[in-house]
């Protein structure tokens, strides 16, 4: 909290030209109904943070308000597209998602616990991997591109039915070694600017880098609709963008390193609510 105030009050007083500061005390209720936990005690494994915050807290008042009503949230348009895909038969088995799962609401709670260890496949799976598992194994359909439009839309639908539920990703048991790999990557410096995720999102959240107001880089809001590129964005594409911004060589989506990083970063948000599709700038 100290950091937040230092950024807001001191800088604001000195430089009127600074980016508009959001109301960092605001609470998020969607459609006047779904209460979202945007700040709460940090889980034990990131006790150094004290409090964890959703990225929503750090956005401007205007951006914040777009997420309070599904009719104003541009991300919800893609949820509608995904509902159509959900009901559409595809592949050799003559199945749709609905054929096995019924209503999308039957997947409430899923977003909150992913990435998650899959016993049969003996691997940690992201939601994208699980969706493609269903498509290829149960539907006889082609896998979707890992961060393609169909996949990100479906992820938005799956997130939307879990909104308000606390993120609760398992970090022990068979997932532990991937979680440890993710933690190592989070603290590794990348690129010619020699920056780690932690340099920006742990040491400097609440501060400004030029016009960017740094958040904790939480992923409870993914997929995010970004005003900057006017589309839904997947978690791993965001990670890639941040590594690129260190003048570093990124990883491809769906590789082990980014799956591990997704698991680790998700776990840093254990206790925040699922809020995707969220709105960011």
């Amino acid at each position: 909290m100290k950091l937040l105030f230092r950024g807001g009050v001191v800088a604001g007083a000195l430089f009127a030209a600074l980016a508009a500061q959001a109301d960092e005390e605001a609470n998020l209720v969607i459609n006047g109904d779904i209460e979202i936990t945007v700040r709460t005690d940090a889980p034990e494994h990131v006790a150094q943070l004290g409090t964890i915050y959703s990225g929503w807290v750090f956005r401007s008042d205007e951006t914040q308000s777009l997420q309070m009503d599904d009719f104003e949230n541009p991300g919800m348009i893609f949820v509608d597209d995904a509902i159509d895909a959900w009901n559409t038969v595809d592949g050799t088995a003559g199945n749709s998602c609905a054929a096995c799962h019924g209503e999308p609401e039957s997947l409430a709670g899923v977003r909150a616990v992913y990435p998650k260890w899959n016993d049969e496949a003996e691997e940690v799976r992201t939601i994208a991997m699980q969706v493609n598992g269903c498509r290829t194994e149960r539907m006889g359909a082609e896998a979707w591109k890992y961060d393609g439009k169909e996949m990100i839309n479906m992820e938005a639908l799956i997130a939307s039915v879990s909104r308000g539920m606390p993120v609760d990703v398992a970090i022990d048991g068979p997932a532990q070694s991937m979680w440890e790999l993710g933690r190592e990557i989070y603290y590794t410096r990348f690129g010619q600017l020699d920056l780690s995720c932690a340099n920006c999102h742990e040491d400097n959240y609440g501060n400004n880098i030029r016009s960017d107001h740094l958040s904790q880089g939480q992923i409870n809001g993914f997929p995010t609709y970004r005003l900057k590129n006017a589309q839904l964005n997947g978690v791993q594409s965001r990670f890639r963008g941040c590594i690129r911004d260190t003048r570093g060589e990124t990883y491809g989506v769906g590789v082990e390193e980014l799956i591990a990083l997704e698991l680790y970063v998700a776990s840093r948000g254990n206790g925040l609510s699922v809020e995707g599709p969220s709105v960011r700038n």
């Binding site: 030209a17 600074l18 590794t188 690129g191 010619q192 400097n204 030029r210 690129r244 260190t246 570093g248």
Partner: protein
């Protein structure tokens, strides 16, 4: 004819200046991170240094630092300390060292090294996200470092 001579005279001067640059891997830091002599062998130009401080494609120093004298340039960050008066309490040698590689002065700092080309993890080809090809160029040239040092020295309380 006169023009041609002038142009080639310039080329020679530029080559000489470049040849006199201390290569990034050869910069000598004191125990406290200072760098004694000019990296380019030339004096710095404070006006050029100012432009480097504020441009996103160059030093972009105000991304992290506030400088009251640069208030007309928008969006100063607050990740690093305010640099007002820094020319009064830091020597040119200290400033040059901090710019070339601030980790020699501040262990573990977030501030990037502006005159360093080796020792990076997964260096990229600028901001493309692709792997770097061939040798890296430093973020700023030797002369640009000197220009920024000269500008910082004008910041007196």
């Amino acid at each position: 004819m006169k023009r041609i001579i002038t142009a080639s005279a310039f080329t020679v001067a530029a080559t000489l200046a470049f040849a006199e640059d201390v290569a990034p891997d050869n910069v000598v830091f004191s125990e406290y991170g200072e760098v004694e002599a000019s990296l380019s062998g030339q004096a710095g130009d404070p006006a050029a240094g100012l432009q480097i401080m504020v441009s996103r494609g160059k030093g972009n120093c105000i991304a992290c630092h506030q400088v009251t004298a640069l208030q007309e340039y928008p969006f100063h960050g607050d990740v690093g300390p305010i640099l007002d008066g820094v020319g009064g309490y830091r020597t040119a040698e200290e400033l040059r060292g901090i710019l070339a590689n601030p980790k020699m002065t501040f262990e573990g700092t977030i501030m990037p090294a502006f005159y360093r080309t080796s020792g990076f993890n997964r260096p990229g080809n600028a901001f493309t996200g692709k792997a770097a090809e061939g040798e890296l160029a430093p973020l700023l040239t030797a002369q640009e470092i000197e220009d920024v040092v000269a500008y910082l020295q004008t910041l007196q309380d």
